[in-house]
């Protein structure tokens, strides 16, 4: 009982301290102004002037394009169909500052100056006989890993792919252990449970109990 009171008083103090910290946290940040990234213009005294160009996700990085050029392979033939090339473009991230892949950006945002030349590089590499893996690798060497729409499955990136399943597996094991423990406890208390029923509880035959149990379960479903 005393422990209970102690915990309560500590919690109140803790809560007040937390509230004070929260208020301090709220009061500390400076006054500053922001505008949606999706707004491109700036107000001036006369009306509207055009600001820097924007993508759907923020300022456009117009100079992000870097050529990815490799000499054609000897006797090169196109390494893939147009459909396969489009699928490959879905795996490369446009570098204009948007969150889209090259194919989607160049066919959606026709003001983007980056995705069309990236597309041309891909077309030339396909005509030069390079495979999808080789093209992805060439882009990765030029732009870095961020040019890929999903992390390469190597090194630390494996944590990204594996962690959700590890967490899920761990949770499943924990739930299974919990259920096992619960069932153990239930098995241990079943006999006592019947004995602890009120003395004035109406009597029922096993058959009646079974029917009642079935009815309850049916009702609960």
């Amino acid at each position: 009982m005393s422990r209970h009171r102690h915990t309560e008083s500590y919690t109140r103090r803790d809560f007040l301290i937390a509230a004070a910290v929260g208020v301090a946290g709220v009061a500390l940040p400076r006054r500053a102004r922001g505008q949606d990234t999706q707004q491109s213009g700036e107000q001036d005294g006369q009306g509207v002037t055009q600001g820097p160009r924007t993508t759907m996700s923020g300022p456009m990085n117009e100079s992000a394009y870097r050529p990815v050029v490799l000499p054609p392979k000897p006797g090169a033939k196109p390494s893939m169909s147009d459909g396969q090339r489009d699928a490959l473009e879905h795996q490369l991230h446009c570098q204009c500052g948007c969150t889209l892949d090259v194919f989607t950006c160049r066919t959606t945002d026709f003001t983007c100056p980056v995705s069309p030349p990236m597309h041309h590089d891909i077309v030339n590499l396909v005509l030069g006989g390079y495979t999808a893996a080789e093209i992805l690798d060439a882009f990765r060497k030029t732009y870095g890993e961020r040019v890929l729409m999903s992390p390469v499955r190597e090194g630390f990136n494996w944590a990204g792919y594996v962690a959700p399943f590890v967490a899920l597996g761990g949770a499943t094991v924990a739930v299974a252990a919990l259920i096992r423990r619960w069932r153990g406890v239930t098995a241990g208390v079943t006999g006592d449970a019947a004995a602890s029923l009120p003395a004035d509880a109406p009597a029922a035959t096993p058959d009646e109990m079974a029917r009642l149990d079935a009815a309850i379960r049916d009702d609960e479903r």
Binding site: A18, A19, G34, T99, R146, G160, A204, R221
Partner: protein, 678 residues
């Protein structure tokens, strides 16, 4: 009115502070006068925030460009609907809108509990007032929509063209209504933890609020998908963008809670877990807001990097610390009152369902935050896009779909093998038939195939449940099938409303699986030129360019390309896609050009046309996409929302009284030989 609104905001801040202090103090000291004062202050805060909101709306409607916010997001030629929706188009206005919803919810929660949960209510009022105080402080000290410009402005900047869409007028309010509704269950959970009254009382109080949150999040997410599909022109509706993910996270944990709450109500189990889910749902809503407003992650939908992001980060840390402490110090109060009898039971199925839902939430959050983690650990920027999320979440989603069908077939407490055999026969048969038909038709996309087989299984489950229920009513009450169906649902809204939600889930999964058969074509057409393509169903299409036209509309200059489509030789309606250059009231261009997609919509597929560019006066670059089953996303979302509405519709007192059972029976003693002889 505008000045009054600004003043009201500051007064609301003070009153919310008063509500917070008096409510907590009243609760601790058990002073009824302070508790009553705190509750009155909650109502008063709502009133002042309403006045502040009316002030901003007045400024927007009157085009008062002396306010930076009005000048930044509206212009004189902006259509009326979007002038009103500009309230939540920018950072500062959306914060005020959040505060408006929060104070409205707070007032409703306090009023509806004026004669109930009286031990909890001082703390509920206190938590609600504390969160309100945070938002009002953020507005007043961080980013106020009433900030004035130091110079005169002739016309405003106007609204981003992509926000000038009916979907965007209604999507954010619904999302906010859902996000903010998570605060009320959170407040009740904190109150229950503080007072250590962790029985079913607080759960009963929060169940409807959790449903309200889930309902609006469902509508908001669906509308968001629709907006992205018709407005952004990338041909899809879900890109695993961080802000999209942020809206999905509280929806997932909220869905988990709505399932696990039933276990606590019926069996007294999962008490700790339910508290964790309620708290997590609120924290994830705040995390979503933090992601949207901090600029920490790049997104299509985000606001610019601004100081309010830091504020939300602070709120997140404080709320997490306080709730963790409260939960840890009250673990012994959260012990289960009953134990699981069988791994093959309804409650076990709900447990697995919870593990999966929370697992998906974790994987989505992990993928969203992984670029930050990677940069911190390796110093390398990476992109985590749809390929990653699909690789991780598709298997989990399919497992979840399977459980959606399995759960309702299993009885509470325990299920016998014969019961399993009987219950699973029809759904399993349906699944086998669906799979066989699709294989015969040549479907070889195994993810889609598994999805459709499972959809068949879940549909079989739902139909079986309705068939049995309707049949029973027809036999017992002599009702016709329609009346029996209506009364079946009306008499047991939670159960059958839930099945309707599951039907919506099936529709959604069918639509998602349809993406596997999407076909895109990137073409250049001069006027009169034709393009031929075959859709995923094998129909032959011919598209003829009808030319490019130019015209002016209300606040934009439009360049449009029109296609004449034929399917298997039959003429179809014209499809027109536009490029729009928005202009201000003086005809000067504003913003980058935007796209208006042309869509020929059918339940089987959409023909989605995007005018991507113009290479000559009569030559258009066009992307044509066959998008199978997209229609089912919107209607699946609606069906889910309808099911949610049925579930949360208040039950009559008579229905409530009929639910549950109170009698306790004990087994009779074996008759003695003497009794038997008599």
């Amino acid at each position: 009115m505008i000045l009054l609104g600004e003043m009201s905001l500051w007064i609301a801040l003070l009153v919310a502070g008063w509500a917070c202090v008096t409510s907590f103090t009243g609760g601790v000291l058990r002073r009824q006068d302070l508790i009553a004062s705190g509750e009155r202050a909650v109502y008063a805060t709502w009133g002042f925030v309403v006045v502040a909101s009316l002030g901003l709306w007045t400024a927007l409607v009157q085009h008062d460009f002396s306010l930076r916010y009005v000048a930044s997001y509206t212009s004189r030629n902006l259509p009326h609907l979007y002038t009103l929706s500009a309230f939540w188009a920018g950072q500062a206005g959306s914060m005020l809108f959040w505060a408006l919803i929060l104070t409205t919810y707070s007032a409703i929660a306090v009023w509806s509990n004026r004669n109930r949960n009286r031990v909890l209510m001082p703390y509920v009022s206190g938590v609600l007032a504390a969160v309100t105080l945070f938002f009002l402080a953020t507005i007043c000290f961080g980013d106020s929509p009433f900030e004035r410009l130091p110079y005169d402005v002739i016309d405003g900047n106007g609204m981003n063209p992509q926000l000038q869409n009916p979907g965007m007028a209604f999507h954010p309010p619904n999302l906010y209504l859902g996000y903010v509704a998570t605060t009320v269950p959170f407040a009740f959970a904190i109150a229950a933890l503080i007072t250590r009254r962790l029985d079913a009382e607080w759960l009963a109080a929060v169940r409807r609020w959790a449903l309200v949150s889930w309902f609006f999040l469902t509508i908001g997410i669906t509308l968001g998908m629709w907006w992205a599909y018709v407005e952004l022109g990338w041909g899809g509706y879900w890109a695993w963008d961080p802000v999209e993910n942020a809206s999905l996270l509280p929806w997932l944990t909220g869905t988990a809670f709505l399932h696990s709450i039933m276990i606590q109500e019926k069996r007294g189990m999962l008490r700790k877990w339910n508290v964790v889910l309620v708290v997590s749902t609120f924290l994830l809503a705040i995390l979503g807001t933090f992601i949207t407003r901090s600029g920490v992650i790049q997104s299509v939908h985000s606001f610019a990097q601004s100081p309010v992001g830091v504020w939300f980060g602070a709120l997140l840390v404080i709320a997490l610390s306080v709730t963790t402490y409260l939960v840890v110090t009250r673990l012994h109060n959260l012990e289960a009152k009953a134990e699981l009898e069988s791994m093959l039971s309804r409650e076990a199925a709900f447990l697995y369902n919870n593990v999966l839902l929370v697992g998906i939430a974790f994987s989505v959050m992990w993928g969203t935050l992984f670029p930050i983690l990677s940069e911190a650990v390796r110093g390398t920027k990476i992109t985590v896009g749809p390929p990653f999320f699909n690789a991780v979440n598709v298997p989990l989603g399919l497992l979840l779909l399977a459980l959606t069908g399995i759960g309702p077939l299993i009885a509470w407490r325990r299920t016998s093998v014969s019961n399993v055999r009987r219950q699973f026969a029809v759904p399993a048969f349906t699944a086998i038939v669906v799979g066989a038909v699709l294989l015969v038709l040549g479907m070889r996309e195994w993810h889609a195939l598994v999805a459709y087989i499972l959809a068949g299984f879940v549909s079989g489950t739902i139909l079986q449940e309705f068939y049995k229920g309707v049949g029973a009513r027809m036999r017992m009450h002599g009702e016709n099938p329609i009346m029996a169906f209506v009364r079946l649902v009306a008499r047991n809204r939670r159960r059958y409303g839930g099945y309707i939600v599951h039907a919506g889930v099936v529709m959604l999964f069918c639509a998602f699986a349809g993406l596997a058969f999407k076909r895109e074509f990137d073409v250049t057409l001069t006027t009169g030129q034709a393009f031929r393509a075959t859709d995923p169903y094998g129909h032959a299409w011919r598209f003829v360019s009808d030319g490019i036209s130019r015209f002016d509309a209300l606040n934009r200059q439009v360049t449009a390309v029109t296609l004449k489509p034929w399917r298997d030789g039959r003429a179809m309606p014209l499809i027109e896609s536009e490029k729009r250059q928005h202009v201000d009231s003086r005809g000067q261009p504003t913003f980058e050009p935007s796209t208006a997609v042309g869509i020929y919509e059918k339940p089987s597929q959409d023909v989605y046309v995007v005018f991507t560019g113009q290479t000559a006066p009569d030559t258009a670059e066009i992307r044509i996409t066959f998008n199978p089953l997209v229609w089912w996303v919107w209607y699946g979302g609606m069906v889910m929302a309808l099911g949610g509405l049925i579930v949360m519709w208040p039950a009559s007192d008579r229905t409530r009284a009929q639910s549950g059972y109170a009698a306790v029976m004990r087994p009779a003693a074996r008759p003695s030989p003497a009794d038997a002889a008599l």
